[in-house]
């Protein structure tokens, strides 16, 4: 049988709890207020899913790409650089999927747990200023401009959570120019993947937004390099019925945003 940890611990006596109160620091009691309304009830146990408006990342590993249907909105800028297009997609299909209880099992792939990009990475293709694997480049070629890519990024759990908290983050992020290191202002979901024991952020953007990602971001000290190494890409196996449901439910939502031109016919440059 299963028991809630709170239920188990409430039976503990003082002897068992000895030492655990040491982290509790005394607080100053405020002056008594004469009139106060009772506060409303709120659930005290809840699962938190953070939707960060801007997030700072240190990437210690792979970026995994998968495709969804969406629509997008909005421009914004932050004090660390100019983001002409802030791809915060208003994607009802994606949001609907994130509300599922098994969302984490749908989107995360344990096989995608991969190490650092090595300095001797294989030859990459350059596309709109991004260095991509040939496999990803081919995926992008076949995608339409309205297809949505969910870029999931592994985050060091101890790393600062939002760029607002750490103004010098762009410098801190890029500790090794050969590592992944970019600050992206478009992540809308963060989650914890149990199987890989990792914390992830996920950005959802259209192909057009992905194409304009690098050119629209300016770090204070210059460009931050991207390096999408081929071995780290996995198309995550969304269940067929989920994609079909998303398409049937949301495919008719109009795309109201003018996307920059992301021509799939742009010549690719093989990087040596």
């Amino acid at each position: 049988m299963k028991k809630n940890l709170s239920e188990i611990l409430q039976n503990a006596d003082a002897e068992a709890l000895e030492g655990l109160f040491d982290s509790v620091k005394a607080q100053e009691k405020p002056a008594r207020k004469t009139e106060e309304k009772p506060k409303s009830n709120r659930p005290i146990f809840f699962r938190v899913v953070a939707f960060a408006a801007s997030v700072a990342l240190l990437l210690s590993g792979a970026i995994i790409l998968t495709t969804l249907l969406t629509r997008e909105t909005g421009d914004s800028s932050n004090s660390y650089g100019r983001m002409v297009d802030n791809p915060k997609p208003y994607d009802s299909s994606f949001n609907a999927l994130t509300r599922r209880a098994d969302f984490n099992e749908i989107i995360w792939d344990a096989e995608a747990e991969l190490p650092y990009v090595a300095d001797d990475s294989p030859a990459l293709v350059e596309w709109n200023g991004l260095s991509l694997s040939e496999a990803l480049y081919n995926k992008l070629l076949s995608a339409s401009d309205n297809d949505l890519f969910a870029v999931t990024v592994k985050v060091k759990p101890d790393f600062p959570y939002t760029i607002k908290d750490y103004p010098y983050l762009p410098r801190l992020v890029v500790v090794n120019m050969n590592e992944f290191g970019f600050v992206v202002d478009n992540f809308v979901y963060s989650g914890y993947h149990q199987a890989t024991d990792q914390h992830y952020e996920i950005a959802v953007m259209t192909k057009a937004q992905l194409a304009s990602l690098r050119q629209n971001y300016e770090a204070p000290e210059g460009w931050l390099p991207f390096n999408f190494e081929s071995g780290y890409f996995t198309t995550l196996p969304y269940p067929e019925e989920d994609i079909a449901y998303a398409i049937s439910t949301y495919a008719s939502v109009p795309n109201t945003r003018d996307a920059p031109d992301a021509s799939p016919e742009e010549p690719a440059t093989i990087l040596e």
């Binding site: 039976n11 503990a12 146990f45 101890d158 914890y192 914390h199």
Partner: protein, 180 residues
């Protein structure tokens, strides 16, 4: 004044002893009560709860055994229980799968001694996790603090607290799996 001196004072002069207990531990008790009730009670209600804690302490002082636990811990337990009683009456608690521990079906959870022993076993393993994970689990599942409160007290980010809590629960389940 250390605990030993305080208890001696209590034994000789209950009134002065109580005065010293209030002086020494009010902030500590307030921290626990506020941690649990801060989001659901007014400051007056919280203060009333703090007062109740010390009343209960005074009424139960003969049960306190300094060889088994410190005075601080004893007060902490009373504070936690007082706050939990109020919270229980105010809220409906939603249990989520992440908080569950597997225990054998033949465990007699009607037996008070068995319940205390189970709690003791679990707490021993929580302590072995070390800081800050042990502090996070203690604050979250015993004191009933929110992620935001825990993050502020332990100077961690809220997401870090959630991640650590999740991992710590996984480790705890694995450790307890072979023990219970």
């Amino acid at each position: 004044m250390d605990e030993k001196a305080l208890l001696t004072l209590f034994a000789n002069d209950k009134s002065k002893g109580m005065e010293q207990v209030l002086k020494t531990y009010t902030g500590f008790v307030f921290a626990i009560v506020r941690g649990r009730l801060g989001e659901i009670c007014t400051s007056s209600e919280i203060e009333d709860c703090v007062n109740d804690v010390f009343i209960r302490f005074a009424e139960s002082l003969e049960k306190f055994d300094p060889d088994r636990a410190s005075l601080k811990t004893y007060l902490g337990v009373i504070a936690r229980n007082c706050a939990a009683n109020i919270a229980r009456n105010r809220l409906s608690t939603v249990s989520i799968d992440d908080d569950l521990i597997e225990i054998p079906d033949d465990y007699d959870l009607e037996d008070e001694i068995a319940k205390k022993e189970l709690a003791k076993t679990v707490i021993e393993q929580i302590k072995l996790l070390g800081s800050p994970d042990s502090d996070i689990l203690f604050r979250k599942y015993y004191l009933g603090e929110s992620t935001k409160q825990i993050a502020a007290e332990l100077k961690l980010s809220p997401s870090n607290v959630d991640v650590r809590a999740h991992r710590a629960m996984e480790k705890l389940r694995k450790k307890l799996g072979g023990m219970l």
